[in-house]
Amino acid sequence: MWRTLLFISLRDWRNHHLRALITIIGVAIGVSTYFALRTVNQSLLASLAATVDKLAGKATLQITAGNSGFPDTVLATVRATPGVTGVTSQIQQFCRADLNDNAWLLILGIDPESEAQLRGYDLGGMAVPSGTPLSFGNPLAFLKLPNTIVLCSAFAEQQGLHAGDHLPVITSQGRVELTILYVLRDERIGSLYGGRVGIMDIHTAQKAFARGPNIDRLDLMTGDGDDVETVRQRLKERLAAGLDIERPQQRSQQVEDATVMVRRGFLMTSLIALLISSFLIFNAMAIAVNQRWKEIGILRAIGVERRRVRRMFLYDASLIGLIGSAAGVIAGYLIALGFSRLAGQLAHVLSVSMPSSLLPMIAAPEPPRFHAGYAGEAIALGMLASLISAWLPARAAARLNPILALHNIETRQRERVIGWPRLALGATLVMAGLALVCLTTPTIGVILQLSYFLLIFFGLILMLPRLAAWMAMALRPLANRAFGSEGILAVDSIILAPRRTSATVAALMVGLAFVFSLWAFIQSEKAVLLNSFERRVDGDLQAWSTSAMTEDLAAQIAALHGIRDVRRSLFSTTRYSDRMVTLIASDMAFWFADANNSLVTGDLQQARELVPKGEGVLVSDIFAARSGLGVGDLLILETPTARLERPVLGVIDSKATAWLEGTVYLDRQLYKMYWQDSRVHWLAIDLEADADPTVVKGEIERATAGGPPLFVETATEIKRQGKATVASNIDQFFRFMYVQMFIVTFVAVIGMINTLVISVWERQREIGIIRAVGGTRRQVRKMVLLEAAAISLIGLVAGAMKGGFDAYFMSRTAAVIFGGYSVPFTFPGLLVLVSLPVLLAIALIAAWWPARLAANTRVVAVIGSE
């Protein structure tokens, strides 16, 4: 029998091809968004992983230790480990080239001798295969010459540089002129950092960038007969636990882990697009049930059981889901191809969430590849969404009273607004969700916390038909006064068919709420971070350089007249519980001396006494929230030299720094002891009471003129400029969210067009009757346009309401889950107001074609046909 029922459905498609087509487009929109974002995500990750592989060369193991690196004394231990047949060290350093555009350059410091064992190079047409001994014939040997560099062709061509030219760069030692030995035409290195890469001898680089004896990475080769895992275990036994010993493939995993937030964001966007599509499918299927009302009655009368009627609609939905999903996969792939042109931008966005040790891994993404697994997944999701969306209309069809269905269209029951019990249940769910968001603690568990969001969502969905009818009733007097009978007819159409309207309103609500709540969340985050940044700026002057400073330079500045003390700080990262957290190593005695610096929790007196001695540490509130550590707890960090165990003596508010995973503050001497790193990134300078900041600033600039260029700013200047920088960084981080907001808005607008066309199609008979009793084409057109405007207004109100609830959820709960701290709730009122004219304009444009369709309805055909 199913074949016959499917055949009947297919025949119905032929008669209502527009409805079928638009429903298919509805599915395709959701699926294409899902597939495109999944493909883009995957192609980015794949290219990042490919870069890791390319960089690894013959290396079977790699050793790293966060941003600060680790002492090169490790090298001897590694070499002496059985099974290690080759090892080479590397540092990675960003610096500015002192050229017109102050371009950033990624410097890879390599050991030419051992490097040649692991990797080959193409030096301007001179191929140097891996394994070439570092003899006179190996051009890499020339890197041993002082102040020499090999430049990637992309950067060299961009700057008009050639072999033999000099490249001025800003190092920790000041401005240094490097001689370009070769221009490197190497696909492997050229794919890094947009090709803005230079290769130096590691010892020259260590000296130039004040890295002391530290290196960033060791690449190891193991013997053919040795099991890599066994060698890894041997190394782990011999080396400090703070060193990460991994296969290159595991580093790919690190890249994946580091981008998990961004990828989850894209996944969320695609699921929201699917959700919006589901509302469209629901609407289309509900309308199909209405259009096939009599057909259902006939089938029931001639002996088709209820369950078979339900199945008929589900077969219909499956087929629509299958065709729509297949079309969505094709469209999604094309979108992904188009998206890949913006992939450089996306790679940059992805890099924001990565620890800087992985930054050099950011390569230019390759064009997306068609992934059959994702295609299958997208098609399955599209079909599932279709089936779920069609379930209620199919059930309604099965429950249809055949006696009523067999009568003429005029005898159809008026669509009942969902009853009070459902409204009460919806309101209860919303209230319960909000109460749980407000009252529960952040540590209750992610799944439970996300369920609050779902409670609010389902509550609103239950309430929506009645809310939509109420809002339409509230619009009625206004529509009457402003637009007369067309306005009344338009609004009445919404009041009489609240279910049909509410599906469109729900699609708009979901899309707009996503945009509004994200926007509100971003604004709250920005306000909190800027406020926190302002409070964190200490010292009368601040000094920093594009390259790390040496302790000698800091001492030279501290000795200048008018300076009371100088606090030296270094920013680094370290691993804590599989997460990369930020380390700030400062002269903590000076930090405590500043009256602006205080603790959120903890005994200030005790902390002031013990932290500068290295007998305790401070942690940021974000770190405390994410790690669960509080004052008095023992913090254990695995460093490159030994395990560091210190009690947490205080928690400080520091959202402006390393706000993703939190920050650990420790005294500089303690850091140096465990990390063997004496660099300085930042100086906070306190002046004598009678010293003029501007005069001292000039003094510092004069005194350090021969060294690396220093940026010296007064506290006021830094607050002003720093706030702009922080704001820009936040915008940059949230850029991918703006992309998501755009995608969701686009899908919602397409959905509105879709629904309006279907709605006009469904009401052809009604429109025909209006025309038959004297309604002009112009009036019909106006009626449809007004209905679209009214639906968009109702959608906006619903979206603002849900957006407000979601923003509350995000500020109270989601912010804690993902960021570690809550932010003040902001209602996106301004954005809602700005959206009003935009949405109205979009609605009117969207309704233009449906309105034309309605105005051109063939009166006799639609009111006379069976």
């Binding site: 029998m1 016959t4 009947i8 025949r11 119905d12 032929r14 008669n15 009599k294 057909e295 009655g297 006939i298 089938l299 029931r300 009368a301 001639i302 002996g303 088709v304 059981e305 209820r306 369950r307 055949p402 006696i403 067999l406 003429n408 046909s865 069976e866």
Partner: protein
């Protein structure tokens, strides 16, 4: 078979009452037996309960009190699926408004019951073609309802109702939407099919001329059978 069923009866209504809400009593303790191959007409003014009686007789609706039996099976003891199967296998229905599927051709509409009973496409169409030829629609097989006249549509509806040779045919104002000449043609056709196939016909009509084609005419008023006549056979 139900203990209370009478031999030779295909349709029995026993003290059947149907109320809609508390206010409207459409049928009031009606009892009726229709024998195999009998033609019974139900007449009466609008609102007298004719259509309700028909709906109860095919199991589309359930009585408030009383028993409806088809071929001895009490409908109240069957669930919705079983009643639907009974309709599919034993009852043909003809409506005043034809109720053809607008998207299917005459041939497809007529073959639909056989297809729903699981018969193969080819065989169903072969038999539907034969039935449509029998009702005079040989040339209109591939036409859809909106391409047929009212009389032709009703012929398709009759072909659909009788394609599986149901023992019982329920016809609700089958000539109500037709001109008198076409109406007569349809009634004559029903007479012929009754003779040839032995189909029992329960005909609801306003039209006395239509009722005259039946063996028995029952008149309903305010939900009660107020008169029963046996018209003289039409020559």
């Amino acid at each position: 078979m139900d203990q209370a069923s009478l031999p030779g009866s295909i349709l029995e209504l026993e003290n059947v009452t149907k109320e809609f809400g508390n206010q409207v009593r459409a049928l009031n303790s009606i009892s009726l037996q229709v024998k195999l191959a009998e033609r019974v007409a139900i007449m009466g003014p609008s609102g007298s309960g004719k259509s309700t009686l028909l709906n109860l007789s095919c199991g589309l609706d359930e009585p408030t009190t009383g028993v409806v039996r088809i071929s001895g099976a009490a409908l109240a003891q069957l669930d919705d699926d079983a009643r639907t199967r009974l309709r599919r296998e034993k009852i043909g229905m003809i409506f005043q408004t034809f109720n053809l599927l607008a998207t299917l051709t005459a041939l497809e509409n007529a073959s639909l019951p056989l297809r729903l009973q699981g018969l193969g496409w080819r065989e169903a169409e072969r038999r539907a073609r034969g039935m449509l030829e029998r009702v005079g629609l040989r040339e209109r097989l591939s036409h859809r309802p909106d391409e047929l006249s009212g009389g032709e549509r009703q012929r398709v509806a009759i072909a659909r109702a009788l394609i599986f040779a149901p023992p019982l045919l329920l016809a609700d104002e089958p000539t109500g939407n037709l001109d008198s000449a076409t109406g007569n043609e349809i009634l004559t056709l029903l007479d012929e099919l009754n003779r040839q196939l032995g189909t029992t016909i329960l005909l609801v009509t306003h039209n006395e001329a239509a009722a005259a084609h039946c063996d028995r005419v029952l008149t309903l008023r305010d939900g009660c059978i107020v008169k029963e006549e046996r018209p003289a056979p039409i020559s």
